[in-house]
């Protein structure tokens, strides 16, 4: 127990690093995933094909392989990223594919009449998506979006193996300094991950109830 108390500072720094990693990656992945989803429903065939290919390739590869690509393949094309940026890239690229599918199912759930009405008042296809279809699509897929988010939080632990001093990385270091405190350290780590994922789940539940009336 004393190991935990003595190392609160370093635990906190690991927790903060995980939060930063997750926050930046999930926003980037959601934005990229939404763009991909709009490509998948767009009237332009080449956009549909490009986006479908992206999703089918990326989501069917283990996330660790994507991390290796970000760290070792990008420098080959003269794109030198630090560990944090590489981890963000890997998480964003990987989870964009999953966010895309969640958002796409939401788009498909929006009644076609909504798009027709938007177009009938003179909105372009892009405006109709942005102002009418996507806001409703996101609302209808809050649970699957949170599923993807939780998976992203857990996958962020892979970054520990790639030199990012996030939570799992901190955990391993603490265990190495005091092997007798393995259980409290593991327990604390699990609780800190739960703090992120459970909070996200609760927030999603609230959000869902709040927007339920408006669809």
């Amino acid at each position: 127990m004393s190991t935990i108390i003595n190392n609160l500072g370093i635990l906190w720094s690991g927790f903060a690093m995980t939060l930063a990693l997750v926050a930046v990656s999930s926003v980037a992945a959601l934005v990229l995933g939404t763009i991909l989803a709009t490509f998948r429903v767009s009237p332009v065939p080449i956009l549909r094909t490009a986006s479908t290919t992206y999703v089918e390739v990326i989501r069917n590869i283990p996330s660790t392989v994507i991390f290796f690509f970000a760290l070792f393949a990008l420098p080959q094309v003269d794109l030198q990223l630090d560990f944090f940026a590489a981890a963000v890239t890997a998480l964003s690229v990987y989870y964009a594919a999953f966010f895309c599918e969640a958002v796409r199912s939401g788009i498909n759930a929006v009644a076609v009449g909504q798009l027709e009405a938007a177009r009938a008042v003179g909105m372009t296809f892009g405006m109709s998506l942005r102002l009418i279809v996507l806001p409703q699509a996101w609302r209808s897929v809050i649970p699957p979006l949170i599923n993807v988010f939780i998976a992203l939080v857990k996958t962020s632990a892979i970054a520990s193996a790639f030199g990012v001093a996030e939570m799992l990385n901190v955990m391993e270091r603490l265990i190495n300094t005091d092997a007798t405190a393995v259980l409290p350290i593991l327990f604390t780590t699990a609780v800190l991950y739960l703090a992120i994922t459970l909070t996200a789940g609760l927030a999603a539940g609230r959000l869902e109830r709040k927007v339920a009336v408006s669809r």
Partner: protein, 260 residues
């Protein structure tokens, strides 16, 4: 007699004050020929009611006028300009053609007032305050002013449809299309919507109304068009049409709906 004094022969489509001109319009859904050589001129201020059995192509005809349905043959012009095929030009055209749908299609995540102001603000670039002022006036006019800050799901069908009419009016359209506007309503709510439509018709709005409401056709239409199998079978003023339909198909249709 000098040549200069002679008026140039007007093109057939502009002989009168035609706002919508459909010329030889054809459309297929796969093997199904849903619109067959449709020729139709709609005058400015005219109220045209389109009736006919299910599957006769009347909704499709209505939807081709703002190109929610594309056409494969023929031409459609609005105010003398042909309908653009895609992109910003088409969006601009649609802003000039109001549409009221069978299932209302109010934007589900926006309040009634936002539904009415979104088009003017985002498409026309009207200032928010001006759009809201005008929006509230329109909502008052159709009798749902008190519902302005509610979401569509909180309104009755009749109220939603009246709000949808206000949304279309907010764009100050040249012509309003109604695609079976009362077909999804509970019977006791049909009249409140028809009243609004009658008032609009009386105000000089150009309207194309696809409907099964024969009472509305009789009292508000300048012209009734009867469609069957993708063709316009008959086109006459309502009195003539209801009293002396010329085609066997129209007589048969009328006998079936008026008997009950």
């Amino acid at each position: 007699m000098s040549l200069a004094a002679q008026p140039a022969p007007a093109p057939a489509s502009q002989g009168t004050d035609a706002l919508v001109v459909m010329n030889g319009v054809n459309k297929h859904y796969g093997a199904l020929h849903v619109l067959k050589d449709i020729n139709l001129n709609i005058q400015r201020g005219e109220v045209v009611v389109v009736i006919g059995p299910s599957g006769s192509g009347k909704s499709t005809l209505c939807r081709t006028i703002n190109r929610l349905e594309s056409i494969e043959g023929g031409t459609i012009t609005l105010d003398g300009r042909p309908l653009p095929s895609e992109g910003k030009e088409l969006a601009r055209l649609r802003a000039e053609v109001g549409m009221v749908f069978q299932s209302f299609n109010l934007f589900a995540h926006k309040t009634i007032l936002e539904n009415v102001t979104l088009g003017p603000i985002k498409v026309r670039g009207v200032k928010k305050a001006d759009a809201e002022k005008r929006g509230r006036e329109l909502l008052e006019r159709v009798g749902v002013g008190a519902q302005a800050d509610k979401l569509p799901a909180q309104l009755s069908g009749g109220q939603q449809q009246r709000a949808a009419i206000a949304r279309a009016l907010a764009m100050e359209p040249k012509v309003l299309l109604f695609d079976e506007p009362t077909s999804a309503l509970d019977p006791e709510m049909v009249n409140e919507v028809l009243e609004v439509m009658k008032e609009l018709a009386a105000s000089g709005m150009t309207m194309v109304v696809v409907t099964h409401e024969m009472g509305f056709a009789r009292s508000a239409a300048n012209r009734v068009i009867f469609m069957d199998g993708g063709s316009i079978v008959e086109s006459a003023d309502p009195e003539t049409f209801f009293a002396r339909p010329t085609s066997e198909r129209a007589r048969d249709f009328l006998s079936k709906i008026i008997a009950h």
